[in-house]
């Protein structure tokens, strides 16, 4: 009764299940400002959607979810458009470079190995660093240390860069080269790993651009919106892998989830948000590590997935 046939995926799915999955990932997206691609794509594959269709349709639904999330965060004053656009320009350039790198890697063979190892190392590094840092910050919150020890050398370097400008929403003064260069870096990694890059971008904004956590979430969603518009159109055009019906069901769930997520995000403190995101990143890392270590049930997989 609750089943719907998906013409591009070539399969029938339970609407309620897909809606619930969208809601769950949308909630996380709204809270943390991550697109959720690294969670949604594996979930869709688990319910029988072909990997290529899962990834492409997910980017379509992220367009909707991040629109809704960006709007909610914009109303709360959490979107730094200036910073977002600069990161976006860097991200697009980096993505283009990343696609070329992955092409070369595939020709050399063993690209999958490098991709998965990069994934596990990145997730592990980002997750552990955020977790420990937020835990320490939460413990020290009464001490109110204004000058973190690591800032000096890094801050000096950052201040030496030309074209310094003030980012009002984030309350930081930086060279415009910073978001551009970091955007390129995240773009390259995201393209290699085949994800939107939200979970790398958020720590980059927090730790390297020193933006406040709440502005980070809104700005990240704003940037993800554009990245996913680009990916959806490209995938629909070249691979015919966007299942709009699947995306629409996910979207209804995720936009609803994203709104609740933005509300929860506002109620949580920055460090609480960081520690929660760090935990999710670490869980995904452990799951991926296990999939590398445990013997698979089936020794063959369709070509085309991650």
């Amino acid at each position: 009764m609750w089943h719907l046939y998906l013409p591009i995926a070539g399969s029938s799915v339970n609407v309620l299940l897909i809606f619930a999955m969208g809601g769950f990932v949308g909630l996380l997206s709204g809270i943390f400002g991550v697109g959720g691609g690294f969670l949604m794509t594996p979930l869709l594959i688990m319910v029988g959607i072909p990997p290529t269709v899962a990834a492409a349709s997910d980017s379509n639904q992220i367009v909707g979810a991040s629109t809704s999330g960006t709007l909610a965060h914009y109303r709360l004053g959490n979107v730094d458009f200036k910073m977002g656009i600069l990161l976006l320009i860097g991200g697009v350039a980096g993505g283009t470079v990343g696609v070329q790198i992955i092409k070369v890697l595939r020709e050399l063979g063993n690209a999958d190995f490098l991709i998965k190892i990069t994934y596990v190392l990145m997730l592990g590094f980002v997750g552990i660093y955020m977790f420990i840092e937020s835990l320490q910050a939460m413990r020290k919150k009464e001490a109110k240390e204004t000058a973190p020890k690591g800032e000096s050398r890094y801050a000096k370097l950052v201040k030496k860069l030309p074209w310094q400008t003030y980012f009002e929403k984030s309350g930081v003064e930086l060279s415009i080269l910073m978001p551009l260069i970091l955007g390129i870096f995240v773009g390259i990694l995201a393209a290699i790993m085949g994800v939107g890059g939200g979970f790398i971008m958020v720590p980059v904004m927090v730790y390297l651009l020193r933006m406040p956590m709440h502005v980070v979430v809104g700005t990240s969603l704003f940037q993800i919106l554009f990245t996913c518009v680009n990916v959806t159109i490209m995938q629909a055009h070249t691979n015919h892998t966007v299942d709009f019906i699947l995306a629409l069901i996910l979207l209804l769930g995720s936009t609803l989830g994203a709104q609740f997520g933005a509300m929860i995000s506002k109620k949580l403190k920055g460090d609480q948000l960081k520690i929660l995101l760090a935990s999710i990143v670490l869980i995904v890392m452990v799951k991926m590590l296990l999939s590398l270590l445990l013997t698979p049930h089936i020794m063959l997989a369709y070509k085309g997935g991650h």
């Binding site: 367009v63 979810a65 709007l71 709360l76 159109i233 966007v242 999939s291 020794m299 063959l300």
Partner: protein, 257 residues
């Protein structure tokens, strides 16, 4: 004259023998009483399609067993082969191509039928499918291939799914409910009937089953494949509008934020 008549008789006998052998090999030799009907013979894949059931009925010669198998169109399929990298981590370590893989293979028999040694079933399919690059472990790879296809519901052997009625005039009627999976792509499928006796196929028949997309799935699929860029742009625009609508609805409900 007598000799030439005798020669004609021998020639006729050889021709008759040859013809009967050809007929027997092509499976229609004793198939006079073979009947196969599909109800319905067209499956509509609409928006709410979630698998379908078709009733297959027919007749086989008394003393034989009926085997029904449904196959889809064949094409080469690429797979990633998993193996251990650095002796520790499970990775995709290469690509293999399975040639002439049917996209559907469902087999239905009665409890009594024995399909071993017949050119039907998974063992026969293994011989029909070749793999490149030629593997040392074809049996193992084919087993893994079957696991994958069975998990998807696209391949199955259903014993005891076919029932017989009372035999009349040397024919044995049968009924079989063929359940088609929810993961069905549109196209033509072949429903085969094989009458088997003493480990051999003595007659066979075939009907075409059509699976057609209608309504919303058809509209979306044709747009996605024929006007892919428009489809991509439309998909993002609708997603943005849906996101904005949700945002506006929520603002109305939660004005305090």
């Amino acid at each position: 004259m007598k000799r030439s008549l005798k020669k004609i008789g021998i020639n006729t006998m050889i021709i008759c023998l040859g013809l009967s052998m050809v007929l027997a090999l092509s499976g229609i030799g004793m198939g006079g009483s073979l009947k196969l009907r599909l109800e319905p013979n067209v499956i509509i894949i609409g928006a709410t399609y979630n698998g379908a059931s078709i009733k297959v009925t027919g007749e086989v010669p008394q003393g034989s067993e009926a085997v029904i198998y449904v196959t889809g169109h064949r094409r080469d399929t690429e797979f990633k082969k998993k193996g251990k990298a650095l002796g520790l981590l499970w990775m995709n370590i290469g690509t293999v191509v399975f040639h002439d893989v049917p996209n559907l293979y469902l087999l239905f028999t009665s409890d009594q039928a024995n399909i071993k040694s017949l050119p039907i079933g998974f063992e026969a399919l293994k011989k029909e499918i070749s793999i490149t690059p030629e593997p040392e472990d074809k049996d193992f790879l084919f087993r893994e291939f079957l696991k994958l296809k069975t998990k998807e519901g696209l391949y199955s052997i259903n014993k005891g799914a076919l029932e017989y009625g009372k035999s009349i005039n040397g024919t044995k009627p049968f009924t079989c409910n063929v359940t088609l999976p929810s993961k069905l792509v549109p196209g033509n499928y072949e429903v085969h009937l094989a009458a088997i006796n003493s480990g051999k196929v003595i007659a066979s028949a075939k009907e075409i089953l059509k699976a057609e997309e209608k309504g919303l799935p058809n509209l979306v699929a044709s747009l996605a494949f024929q006007h892919s860029t428009t489809y991509g742009v439309l998909a993002t625009v609708i997603a943005i509008i849906a996101g904005l609508i949700m945002g506006i609805i929520f603002k109305g409900g939660k004005g305090g934020h």
